[in-house]
């Protein structure tokens, strides 16, 4: 037996503890979400009617299954608020991801063109803001965008506007916040693929007479598609369920699904509807999630 195989045996045992943990605290909880999404709302603590009780035996269990209520899901489908919330979440996520790609690509491209020594520095500079608190970064923008904030003061001083512009509680502010918070997630995978690219390929295309935009469009961009895919998924999936940024920066007239879930849960105390909203959100994200997992796995395990 090769030493590699011998090494693998105890390594497998290392999986036990994290495996049990993740089943207990990641997989099982989804079962509870599903269960409660199918139960009735009740004014009680906790605020839902129990659907079934595992200790009550098989017959009651069968009866309980027959009485499962899909009413919460029907409510989600029929109430305009929820339909709008899902549509808005998807529109916001698609728009924001497109913006992130447009803004992040040139930055990642510039990084990949830096001399090797400076590339490491640039990468650290992009990562560091990711380490500072998410909430703090949104708060920093509230400082800038508020009525008498820095942005309005600058615009007024330059006589670009005659009176302060309302930035806060607008979609513009929300998009600024999202792009700001997620930019490192877009730049890093893009940079990773662009930095690995062979510069000779671009040079060859250029030597053969392609103008720069054609070199980019026919050579650079297609070769960077794996990075584009990773960056897009890494941004799109969490943005769909985003809560903090739209809550603090966007107006309250059009809610995203993360906000309605939060509202149902904390304000209306309607746990079953909140759970149903979570299940629908999960279903919407299932395909991108699976795509992302395959990508992640391929990336981390290609050396095996």
């Amino acid at each position: 037996m090769s030493s590699r195989r011998i090494f693998a045996r105890p390594a497998r045992f290392a999986a036990i503890a994290p495996y049990v943990w993740m089943v207990l605290f990641f997989l099982v909880p989804f079962g509870f979400v599903l269960k409660i999404s199918l139960s009735q709302t009740a004014i009680a603590q906790p605020p839902y009617e129990p659907v079934f009780d595992l200790t009550a035996g098989w017959d009651t269990l069968k009866a309980a299954f027959a009485a499962l209520s899909v009413g919460n899901f029907r409510l989600l489908g029929s109430d305009d608020i929820y339909v709008f919330a899902y549509v808005r979440s998807l529109t916001v996520a698609i728009t924001a991801t497109a913006l992130l790609l447009l803004i992040g690509y040139p930055i990642a491209y510039g990084m990949a063109r830096l001399p090797k020594r400076w590339q490491a520095v640039a990468m650290v500079l992009v990562i560091v803001p990711f380490w500072t608190s998410f909430l703090i970064r949104i708060y920093a923008w509230i400082n800038i965008l508020q009525h008498d904030g820095l942005l309005n003061q600058i615009l007024l001083a330059l006589h670009l506007v005659s009176q302060p512009v309302v930035w806060l509680s607008t979609d513009t502010a929300m998009y600024i916040g999202i792009v700001y918070s997620y930019l490192p997630f877009m730049i890093l995978p893009l940079y990773a693929t662009l930095a690995k690219m062979e510069p000779a390929l671009e040079e060859a295309a250029s030597d053969l007479g392609a103008p720069p935009w054609q070199v980019f469009w026919l050579v650079t961009f297609p070769l960077s598609l794996p990075g584009v895919g990773a960056g897009v998924l890494l941004c799109f999936i969490p943005i769909v369920g985003e809560f903090v940024i739209p809550d603090l920066l966007a107006g309250s007239n059009a809610l995203m699904i993360g906000q309605t879930l939060w509202l149902e849960f904390f304000t209306n105390k309607d746990w079953p509807v909140a759970s149903a909203a979570a299940i629908v959100l999960l279903v919407v994200l299932l395909v991108p999630l699976l795509l992302y997992e395959r990508l992640q796995k391929r990336q981390l395990e290609q050396g095996r």
């Binding site: 994290p18 495996y19 990641f26 903090v244 979570a278």
Partner: protein, 270 residues
């Protein structure tokens, strides 16, 4: 030959824009935390007034203390579990349930936090667990161990495996080979993983809001409820302190990885 590589003016402009965009808002926030004026937009001279106010705000201090305790505890457990998971995935070859295992580890990296938070809360309610320090710690551990696993796994993947094999050919059993050879080599990644877990926990608002109980708010929860009421200079001071803490953590992390990574290139922190 026409040279395509090398920096064009467009490259430099986009880099400059990117860095300014990433850093200016934070710098402005830090600057205004030292502003003597209550009006956030008027510069009233340098002052530590808002820091003073923060240190006299008992509720804020308690929240900060709670956040620090949760961050240390959850980062430590997460580092342990995440490292084990990374070892199993990158050295365990094939085992039963591997696909489910890696699936459960990668999904929380992008899973919207409202879903993770809600599902964990429903579990805690079903178990009739008292919500507070431990429920938040468990929730944060579940999220952050996945990040640790990815950081450590990418380091393990780039290691030269003949080193472990050499140790075993020289008579080490697998466990000894791991402790003596592999562990020192992945130490920088483990340190980086702990730091990442620590800052993610310190930062989290959504999952903590779901899983905490009455009377044990974390710092982000308190900041969030203040921010909803509007801009307050005291918040600028708190944010600056958190940024300073995280900066210290990053410096320690990079020093630690520099010290121990002379053997090879260090793992990317993400």
């Amino acid at each position: 030959m026409r040279k395509v590589s090398g920096l064009s003016r467009f490259n430099i402009a986009s880099l400059a824009f990117g860095l300014a965009f990433l850093y200016l808002p934070i710098l402005i926030l830090v600057l205004y935390s030292f502003n003597a004026s209550r009006l956030v937009t008027v510069w009233g001279g340098w002052s530590l007034r808002w820091y003073h106010e923060f240190f006299n705000d008992r509720a804020m201090i308690e929240a900060a203390w709670m956040s620090l305790r949760v961050a240390v505890a959850s980062a430590t457990i997460a580092t342990l579990l995440g490292t084990l998971a990374a070892v199993a995935l990158s050295r365990g070859e094939r085992f039963r349930g591997r696909t489910l295992f890696s699936g459960m580890l990668y999904a929380p990296l992008v899973m919207p936090e409202v879903i993770t938070g809600l599902s964990l809360l429903l579990l805690f309610v079903a178990l009739n667990a008292e919500r507070g320090f431990w429920t938040v710690t468990i929730a944060h551990t579940t999220l952050t161990m996945c990040f640790v696993a990815v950081v450590v796994q990418s380091r393990l993947g780039s290691l030269d495996r003949s080193l472990e094999e050499a140790a075993m050919d020289l008579g080490c059993d697998p466990v000894r080979a791991f402790v003596a050879v592999t562990l020192p080599l992945i130490a920088p990644a483990i340190v980086a993983g702990w730091m990442l877990a620590f800052t993610l926990s310190l930062d989290d608002l959504v999952i903590a809001s779901f899983t905490t109980g009455p009377g044990s708010a974390t710092l982000p929860i308190r900041i969030y409820s203040e921010v909803r009421l509007g801009v307050k200079p005291e918040i600028n001071a708190i944010c600056t302190l958190v940024i300073a803490l995280i900066a210290v953590v990053i410096v320690i992390a990079s020093l630690a990885s520099k010290l121990s990574s002379s053997q090879g290139e260090s793992a990317a922190p993400l």
